[in-house]
């Protein structure tokens, strides 16, 4: 008994410290990832930034601009946002988040704000023209029909 008690105590202390190490090691090893939404936008767009696994207040910078913002701690993430300013020319920017000693980044693209020119027009029919001509055809057919009715009327009478 006298011999086993210290050993038990040592074992308990060992397992306790091991558990503590594991418990603290898990979040420290988890990689901080930065996620943006949306990932592209135009001037005036509010971009939300999430630094996952960042268990403290963090700061963010849009590299190459004077835009910086705070990401307050929110559960075990840091959450913040910035707005695309008029000074930001269309280009792809790196949004870097500093969380304690760690940094992580994600890319945001500022565009001129329009859609994509994904067509050359070779299959486009002039829909309006087609409708116009079919309408005209209907009018002509109906007019001819009515005229024939009137002629018959006159012949019968």
């Amino acid at each position: 008994m006298r011999i086993t008690r210290p050993i038990r105590g040592m074992l308990a202390a060992l397992s306790l410290s091991a558990a503590l190490v594991l418990a603290t090691a898990a979040p420290a090893n988890a990689v901080i990832t930065v996620t943006l939404t949306p990932t592209a936008g135009t001037i005036g767009t509010r971009v939300d930034v999430l630094a996952a696994n960042c268990d403290q207040d963090a700061t963010g910078d849009v590299e190459g601009t004077d835009v910086s913002f705070k990401l307050p701690k929110n559960d075990n993430h840091a959450l913040g946002d910035f707005t695309v300013t008029e000074k930001m020319e269309p280009a792809t920017y790196t949004v870097a988040v500093t969380c304690g000693p760690d940094t992580a980044s994600a890319k945001f693209t500022v565009t001129a704000g329009t859609g994509a020119s994904t067509g050359g027009g070779s299959t486009a029919s002039q829909a309006a023209t087609a409708v116009l001509w079919s309408g005209a055809a209907l009018v002509v057919a109906a007019a001819v029909g009515l005229w024939m009715l009137r002629r018959r009327d006159g012949a019968a009478a």
Binding site: T33, T35, A52, T92, A112, G135, L138, V139, A143
Partner: protein, 241 residues
Amino acid sequence: MHETRQPVHRPEPAFRPVAAVVLSIVLAGGLGLMLGSVVPMPSLRMPHFASPFDDDPFAVADPAGRTWLDRSAPTRVDIAAVDVHAPLTGLGLDYEGNFEVPRMWRPHEAGWFEPGPTPGEFGPTVIMGHVDTERSGPAVFFPLKHLDEGDTIELTREDGVIVTYEVTAIESYAKDRLPYEDVFGIEPAPALRLITCGGEFDRESGDYTENLVVFASYTGHRDATEQDRERPLNGPAHFRD
């Protein structure tokens, strides 16, 4: 005897008024079509209902909640339902700050938006392709309009992983009102958007008036098999007609 009991059937006098009425309706319809094609269609804007998650778009999405894939560029897109098998090129922005699109002389090629997430990474992967080109006629994404919700889209990555998606919605937007928050915003899982052209072709600006956007969400990923690797791509010859 027989005739006197039967009511007299006289189709002849009723024909002309009925025909006149029918022809008048046709005439009015034809005039309406002609008028409608000349007068521009008023564009309706649906009221926008704000999402309760607008303040925190990450409320429904946890990028670190699951282990998504690491970054690896997509190399091809396959949509068996509409026979799309296209190689992918990298796209960024053009000198005007608009989206770069694949080359007009490569109608078989689609492109992926390189600054954005890759397939299987958390966030929206965006792929653009031409509906037609100046000469070829139908191009790589011409058949997108025939897609239905639930159709499967497969993206093959450089590292040999095939990411599968399911079509959730197909929407058309005026090009100057492309909703970036929807197209480039996150979903609870990795997402995919296919963008091509739609609407009418504006001969003055040489461009279509709308973008057709196919929304798809992640359903899983697998390693490419020998069979997958042997699938042929639709080359330029496929679009030569």
